[in-house]
């Protein structure tokens, strides 16, 4: 099974997908016999939670009775959808293909002549209907949970100042090892995912970047030279210089010089 793509709530969702590009060629019109308006494709990834969800949607679009699904028609629409997804080069989840196979199997069984002598033979659609209905209940439950008042979204705990006797609230202790273990864990996970690259850069430059930023504010210019402490020696000067260059690259600071050989000033943009 492939993993569904869970989007972190903090990351903005991609607003618009480019419309279909097939073999390097942009497609301006969707297949004509497509029941689903092409706009639906844009919201596809955000809207459907999987093949069951898509099937429920297709059934509803045609106002079909879930208990009497015309499998052939639904299969056709479903396959068109899956095909379209493939064309737009989306990462097509294996679950959708499994469902397509299941639909095809049901369809083929329904095409076979029915055995009248076997009275209680199961409708091949029964299993699918059961799954759809079961899924639907939890889909509803999920939306019910979302509608319930959430602490921190709909209501907020009281947070008032406290007049208390002079005793300090004990704060949790951590030791360096705990902190490093946590970071080691992240490194391991990142190595496994390979999505992100934590560059193996020296911490001193990062730390100096923070230091330089804290020396600046947006109103006042700070003289470039004042950032350097000669006491730190050559290495310290180099580290500061690299930190400043890195901050400039990241556009976190501005550098101004009135004329050639005039003092250079830094400030936050």
């Amino acid at each position: 099974m492939t993993q569904e793509t869970e989007q972190s709530p903090a990351q903005p969702r991609q607003g618009e997908l480019p419309f279909a590009i097939v073999q390097g060629e942009a497609i301006s019109a969707p297949p004509e016999d497509l029941y689903i308006p092409p706009d639906a494709l844009e919201v596809f990834l955000e809207t459907f939670e999987g093949p069951l969800d898509l099937l429920l949607y297709l059934i509803r679009r045609q106002n079909l009775d879930i208990l009497d699904i015309p499998i052939a028609e639904i299969t056709r629409q479903y396959m068109e959808y899956v095909e379209l997804m493939r064309n737009v080069n989306l990462d097509l989840a294996a679950e959708y293909l499994v469902m397509a196979a299941m639909l095809a199997e049901i369809k083929s069984r329904m095409l076979l002549p029915s055995h009248d002598e076997v009275e209680d033979e199961d409708d091949p659609r029964a299993e699918l209907v059961r799954r759809l209905q079961e899924y639907e209940r939890f889909k509803q439950a999920a939306s019910n949970i979302d509608d319930m008042p959430h602490l921190g979204r709909d209501n907020f705990p009281a947070d008032v100042d406290v007049i208390r006797e002079d005793r300090k609230k004990p704060e949790p202790d951590i030791d360096m090892r705990e902190l490093l273990l946590a970071f080691q864990d992240i490194l391991k996970r990142v190595d496994m995912q390979k999505h992100h690259e934590i560059e193996r850069e020296e911490i001193s430059i990062r730390a100096r970047m923070t230091h330089v930023l804290s020396c600046l504010d947006s109103n006042n210019f700070v003289e470039f030279q004042s950032l350097f402490t000669l006491k730190e020696g050559r290495l310290g000067v180099v580290v500061t210089l690299m930190a400043v260059l890195e901050l400039l690259k990241l556009k976190l600071i501005d550098m101004v010089q009135a004329e050639a050989f005039a003092p250079i000033y830094l400030r936050k943009p």
């Binding site: 993993q3 709530p9 949607y57 019910n144 949970i145 979302d146 959430h150």
Partner: protein, 195 residues
Amino acid sequence: MEQKKRQCILEAILISADKPLSIEKLLGFFDTHDLVNRNDIKESLAELQAHYKDRGFQLIETVSGFRFQTRDQYKQWVTQHWDEKPAKYSRALLETLALIVYRQPVTRAEIEDIRGVAVSSHIIKTLQEREWIRIVGHKEVPGRPSLLGTTRQFLDYFNLKSLDEMPSLSEIQDIDKLYPELDLKMKEDSSKEDT
């Protein structure tokens, strides 16, 4: 201790607490010579609930105890404290949570079976970090998969005294009620096509 003073002390304790406090815990705030018993506390809590029934905040009872919190109807103003809107939960997360709530103890495979898609590890991790779910045991099948269940914090977060207060799982839904939001969105989109 006289009634009014007791009420004020409880009010001060609860308004400055960072978590819900049970009657037992509240009792622990008093000294023996304060001469306060469980019934006194119950009585004061009821008075406080009545006192705050039409104010900007209220005293609610969750599974772990009593907590003062702002009322839902003022969230529009209260949320201005923060620059960012509170995170919206994805449907995948909510569906996974719903399955854990109603089917607990449940394995990840069982959740995947009903949803028809793999459950991402991020979702499980997010739910665990929020302390809404936890591993409650292991199923005695090959691989001994973890069984997931909800926590006390989950109930606290949703202001519930017990899981029985969750809306009951619906009967088979009327299919027409599905996806109203998508329908709307598509209508909007197509009306914009002419512009």
